[in-house]
Amino acid sequence: MNIQLPRADVAERTLAIVGELKGLEGPLLPILHEIQDEFGYVPDECLPVIARELNLSRAEVYGVVTFYHDFREHPAGRHVLKLCRAEACQSMGGDRLAERAKALLGIDFHETTPDGAVTLEPVYCLGLCSCSPSAMLDGEVHGRVDDTELEALVAEARR
């Protein structure tokens, strides 16, 4: 997913994505999601292309990208482990679990392991509050995560 493409290719793919989606009402968020799906992040080189095609200023597009937590300005690791940090998970030991995850991976939230394998991210609610604490590894959900399961998730992500 996170393949570093040459600049010209990024611009070309961006143009194709924008062309496909610009007919939607309010197309900017769908376009940014598609770009992040394609490249794994929102490369800088996309912004002028999007701005030109949607008749926006670069600043407006940049402002939208930076407003939303989901859009990355840099590629993530090969796997993304999200831990829920919200109240329901706190009530079931989520804070302790987060500390354990940080220790296992040797990184803090928003960081990627040096081998590029795992990015650790906080998430504020996965809607799994009835089986907290919860986590998401590459889009797969996990509930009632205990130390054993966390270790298994980390091992899986490190592979």
């Binding site: 402002g63 989901d70 919200a86 809607g127 799994l128 009835s130």
Partner: protein, 518 residues
């Protein structure tokens, strides 16, 4: 006859291993050459029993749970297909007390049907509301909804019918129905369950709203954290479109209505309706000042109905069974049913739909069964991260919009998070401020700056620096945020903070133990 086995596809069930159970079941059925089929239903809402496997027998559906993949072979050995006895057998699903005591109106089909079978949906009473609506005058539909007493289930509790009437009466060549499915509150999952377990009911509700107000286009704005709900909604919309439920001629009538799903990008504040509208338009999710109301100038400046998932999903049954039927449930000015979501440190976690009026204590102690940890309940946060923390002494508060407001709380989207006696309420108050600081859209000063100052003041109290003075400062800051913020994010963050400080003063006194415990 082919036996039907139900294994949920709801995200909570998946998070507890439902996919592995389904795979193991399919393998065993094939290996044993059994005449059985697996249906991936939504969740019944008994999440402590997930994955909950059900089998259809002549006596009704029999439930087993919580089932692990490794239990599948022994279940089949015990005669699962005919509802055989097994240590995991819970008896008839409908007779499980947690389910039996509920009044399921909005969630009547959730967990019962195949969420993506329109035939199943129809067979269980689906589309009756819409069929009635297409034959009615728009004003009559609005009157029916107003009469039912339905209030916004997103949290604000504004009468749905009045909102619809404003849009119906507003002049505009183009109008929109926007469904707020940006369910970001911790402790809530009702919207997710409906979208995954009965997506057609939301589509039906939105189509009725469209016909009632003259809107022809709808958007479901949901969260990127909900990939399963997004997939289910998108598939259901395709199916509804192919069957003529959506499109140029809704159920063959002269009304046109179509809809699409839009995904947010991890911003909590986009659950605020005006911020959501900006986000849908492709802008930063900055809150708009009101007026103008979205009903007058909403999406792309057009008259817009913006309702929560549960509000819209409650409309079909109101149209089907009539306003009086729905209004007869509930208490005071809170009419109908409310899906209470019981979460956090609680034994019987899940979704419990019931008429308004149960007390908080009944919900937590009797229905929820106390804490999962077995320790005493210390506090209950009701209504998400912007809701107040209630101590045991307020457990006699009835679940009702006005009763909660009278106790300086709110029912919000009806999520309840239970904490045991290990919870540190100063830490929870600090978290509320921190969350507000992270998620503030930045438009108004009390929210943007106040939340950051709030974290600092909480830290000073924790460190024992002039505690009395800083407690006063925190209260003053909360007052400013409550009355000076543009939207509920800054305006309601004081609820968890002030309730924690008022009801649990012992946690706000400087004690060296706190630092050591940290």
């Amino acid at each position: 006859m082919t036996v039907k086995i139900y294994i949920p596809r709801d995200a909570a069930a998946l998070a507890l291993g439902a996919e592995r159970v389904a795979t193991a079941m399919a393998d065993e059925i094939a290996a044993r050459g059994l005449d059985a089929t697996i249906i991936r239903n939504g969740s019944r809402g008994m999440h402590w029993l997930e994955p909950l496997v059900e089998v259809e027998t002549a006596e009704g559906r029999i439930a087993y749970g919580p089932v692990k993949a490794s239990d599948v072979a022994s279940l089949l050995d015990a005669g699962l297909l005919s509802g055989g006895a097994h240590a995991l057998c819970l008896g008839k699903t409908e007779e499980v007390p947690f389910l039996k005591r509920q009044t399921r109106l909005t969630f009547a089909r959730c967990g019962v049907i195949d969420p993506l079978s329109l035939d199943d949906y129809r067979a269980h009473g689906g589309l009756r509301g819409l069929e009635k609506a297409v034959a009615m005058q728009p004003a009559a539909i609005v009157a029916e909804v107003t009469e039912s007493g339905l209030r916004g289930r997103g949290g604000a509790g504004f009468p749905t019918g009045i909102k619809w009437k404003t849009v119906l009466d507003a002049a505009g060549a183009r109008k929109y129905i926007v469904c707020n499915a940006d369910e970001g509150d911790s402790g809530t999952f009702a919207d997710r369950m409906i979208m995954e377990g009965d997506p057609f009911v939301l589509i039906e509700g939105m189509a009725i709203a469209g016909i009632a107000t003259g809107a022809t286009k709808g958007f479901v704005y949901t969260r990127s954290e909900y990939p399963h709900a997004i997939a289910a909604m998108e598939q259901a919309i395709e199916i509804a479109r192919a069957a003529g439920v959506l499109g140029a001629s809704v159920l063959g009538s002269a009304h046109a209505f179509d809809m699409e799903v839009r995904t947010g990008a991890g911003a909590y504040v986009c659950g605020e309706e005006t911020s959501l509208l900006n986000s849908l338009e492709g802008k930063r999710g900055i809150v708009r000042a009101k007026p103008p109301l979205p009903a007058h100038k909403g999406l792309f400046d057009c008259p817009t109905v913006i309702n929560n998932v549960i509000s819209l999903a409650s409309v079909p049954i109101i149209l089907d069974k009539g306003a009086t039927f729905y209004r007869d449930f509930g208490m005071g000015r809170s009419r109908g049913t409310i899906p209470i979501q019981i979460a956090g440190n609680v034994k019987h976690s899940g979704l419990y739909e019931t008429a308004f009026g149960l007390t908080l204590g009944e919900i937590v102690d009797e229905i929820g069964g106390g804490t999962a940890s077995g320790r005493p309940v210390k506090a209950v946060q009701v209504g998400g991260p912007l809701g107040a923390y209630f101590p045991r002494s307020l457990f006699d508060t009835p679940f009702d919009y006005e009763a909660f407001a009278a106790k300086d709380g709110l029912i919000g989207h009806a999520g309840i998070v239970v904490f045991d006696d290990t919870a540190d309420m100063l830490k929870q108050a600090r978290f509320a401020m921190e969350f507000c600081a992270v998620e503030s859209c930045g438009k108004c000063t009390p929210c943007r700056i106040g939340s950051t100052r709030g974290v600092e003041v909480a830290d000073k109290i924790a460190a024992g620096i002039e505690p009395e003075k800083n407690r006063e400062l925190l209260a003053d800051l909360c007052n400013t945020m409550k009355f000076g913020s543009l939207c509920a994010l800054g305006g309601f963050t004081p609820y968890p903070v002030m309730s924690a400080m008022t009801h649990f003063p012992e946690d706000f006194s400087p004690a060296p133990v706190w630092e050591a415990a940290e």
